[in-house]
């Protein structure tokens, strides 16, 4: 990213821009630090590896003398503890693979990479400026059902690969809510029809289920949006327009 977009932006978002620049700087620093640690590791390999076993002593409380002691076949936490020396090196205990304490983030990342290679779906619901937010009107094209479903986004349930969104609309004057798993291949495209005027101050807009706050039918907004889109993409072939849902979402997020 270069500095030119900073200049082009209106003054109102200067604070945000500055924040972004600061983050960029920090991330650069992190990268540099990361490289530094790798180099020190390689130099550190010359030192002898710590012994893989030690002796655990049970000390008598009254006499403060070693009552008894046992060999423990794992590295000592404190280096001062006595170790066993007589096991020849070939017979040192097997090195055990210790997995990360929380494997789920890595698993999610792997699955998301598989299901969303372009990263468009992830970006559309990331916690960034361009992304969709609660209160926006979205349109989801589903492979199985014929008509695309549009509605107000009232909740984003962030669960890695299992991330889902909840849309609310009125069909035939009846409130209808639909959950969509954003990484599901059946969800062919998600488009932002209309942005919310103000940032919602709740994470879940469940108050919209009350008649007082309900935004009811969103078809008017969808119709208006479709009209503007037709004007801009009038030259595009019909085929392209039909499958353009996913791409459009990606472009918007960028």
């Amino acid at each position: 990213m270069n500095a030119t977009p900073l200049v082009r932006r209106p003054l109102g978002c200067l604070k945000n821009s500055l924040r972004q620049a600061r983050q960029l700087k920090e991330s650069r620093l992190l990268v540099a630090r990361g490289m530094a640690t790798t180099t020190t590791e390689t130099t550190g390999s010359e030192a002898p590896p710590p012994p893989r076993h030690h002796v655990f002593q049970i000390i008598d409380r009254k006499t403060k003398k070693t009552r008894t002691a046992f060999a423990i076949y794992k590295p000592a936490i404190k280096p001062s503890l006595p170790t066993l020396k007589e096991l020849p090196p070939i017979l040192s205990p097997p090195k055990l693979n210790k997995p990360p304490s929380n494997p789920l983030p890595a698993l999610h990342a792997e699955q998301i990479k598989k299901m969303d290679p372009t990263g468009a779906r992830t970006r559309l619901f990331a916690k960034t400026r361009g992304a969709a937010r609660v209160g926006d009107i979205l349109m989801v094209t589903h492979r199985r059902s014929g008509e695309p479903f549009s509605g107000v986004l009232i909740e984003i349930r962030r669960r890695g690969i299992d991330t889902a969104i909840l849309l609310r609309n009125h069909l035939a004057k009846v409130g209808v809510e639909m959950w969509f798993k954003i990484y599901n291949k059946n969800v062919a495209g998600i488009e932002i029809v209309k942005r919310a005027k103000k940032r919602a101050r709740r994470a879940r807009l469940t108050y919209m289920r009350k008649a007082k706050h309900d935004r009811c039918d969103v078809s008017a907004a969808v119709f208006a949006w479709k009209k503007t889109r037709k004007v801009t993409t009038i030259k595009a072939s019909a085929k392209k327009a039909a499958k353009g849902g996913k791409n459009a979402a990606g472009k918007k997020a960028k």
Binding site: A71, K74, K85, L87, P93, P94, P103, Q111, I161
Partner: protein
């Protein structure tokens, strides 16, 4: 279990003494006797006095009883093992921790809910054999436990195996000796085959003392129509005078709910990953996140292909080629340390630095030549 002399030594002794001596007679022998083995069973009691007969209700130690020309018994340990042959898995299982649930998505849009189970430093600890214990099983340990939190007897047990103390230990029955594992080998997620079926068992969430509605799905009582303070109570607990005016045994009533062992059978394995240490199975598994879970090949489905089983065994050998020698070395070392502890010399030994290589040989010699001195 107090560690014996290295197993090999025992067997060598045995073959010298005469092949006709039953193996089982030796197993409970408290010490190795050089010249002659008594043909009567030796009491398993080590300290104090005892009669030669085993305690009533003690484990039978002659599992292979020969019947003199009579048809094979349909009861007893041998018959029981034979009967359970087909429902005992071929291989040992592993202990894991439930990390949570997530989903996999198919290319055609199918969502498959799945549970992530993680293996942490899972090692085979010991084997149980037909001759010694009456059945074949593998003891498996999970995780890591601070030595401070382990009692002295167990520290000695782990010392003899050359394995660090474990957070959780469980036993997995296997069909025959081909399923036994060398102690010390680490079992990793690739022990399982993607696509195979497993049985997963864990303790389910406890619900405490629950009423009849929650525990047995009773309908409860009316909200109105004159009902007074009995909306969720169970109704009648049985008929009256004509049927004996008693509550029949087994009547469903309020009580402790949950917290029992639950086995979920035939879960397909969707994914294994050694780096993350995870086995992902389809569907749900009992218990909260962080619960210990036992995974073993499914009983009601065919085991994984024979080639795969052989491959996993080979992998184990590759990863820990000198398992047997290592166990032997650890045992020898344990004998020396044990001796030092018994004589109260362990403190001096530590001060000198534990260098006991010469001592091992001398001690072994002493044990073999003059067992009464050591005893």
């Amino acid at each position: 279990m107090a560690p014996r002399l290295p197993a090999r030594c025992c067997w060598r002794q045995l073959s010298l003494a005469g092949a006709s001596t039953p193996r089982t007679a030796l197993i409970f022998a408290p010490q190795i006797q050089k010249s002659s083995f008594s043909k009567t069973a030796i009491s398993p009691v080590k300290y104090g006095w005892s009669t030669t007969l085993p305690k009533r209700g003690a484990k039978p130690y002659k599992y292979d009883q020969t019947t003199s020309g009579l048809p094979a018994l349909t009861t007893g340990p041998a018959a029981a093992l034979e009967r359970r042959k087909n429902t005992t898995p071929v291989r040992a299982g592993v202990i894991a921790v439930k990390k949570g649930m997530t989903a996999f998505f198919g290319n055609r849009g199918a969502r498959i809910p799945c549970t992530v189970l993680q293996l942490d430093q899972v090692q085979a600890l010991a084997n149980k054999t037909r001759e010694k214990n009456g059945y074949f099983a593998v003891q498996v340990g999970f995780g890591d436990r601070k030595a401070d939190n382990v009692g002295a007897p167990m520290l000695g047990w782990y010392e003899a195996k050359g394995i660090p103390p474990k957070e959780k230990v469980a036993e997995f029955k296997v069909r025959d000796e081909s399923g036994l594992l060398p102690p010390g080998v680490q079992l990793q997620p690739d022990w399982f085959h993607v696509g195979q079926w497993v049985d997963v068992r864990a303790d389910c969430k406890g619900k405490g003392f629950a009423g009849g509605m929650k525990r047995h799905g009773f309908a409860g009582q009316e909200a109105s129509h004159g009902n007074s303070k009995n909306h969720r109570t169970i109704g009648s607990s049985g008929p009256s005078q004509g049927s004996g005016s008693r509550v029949l045994p087994g009547k469903k009533m309020p009580g402790r709910m949950g917290g029992q062992r639950v086995t979920v059978q035939n879960l397909p394995v969707l994914m294994v990953n050694n780096e993350l240490g995870i086995v992902v199975v389809k569907g749900c598994v009992a218990g909260p996140k962080g619960a210990h879970v036992l995974i073993q090949d499914a009983v009601k489905k065919p085991p994984p292909p024979q080639e795969f089983i052989q491959k996993t065994r080979k992998l184990l050998d590759q990863r820990f080629p000198n398992a047997e020698e290592y166990l032997e070395a650890a045992r020898k070392q344990h004998l020396v340390l044990k001796e030092a502890r018994a004589q109260g010399r362990i403190d001096q030994m530590l001060k000198k630095g534990v260098t006991a290589t010469d001592e091992i040989e001398s001690l072994l010699q002493a044990r073999i030549t003059a067992p009464e001195v050591v005893a």
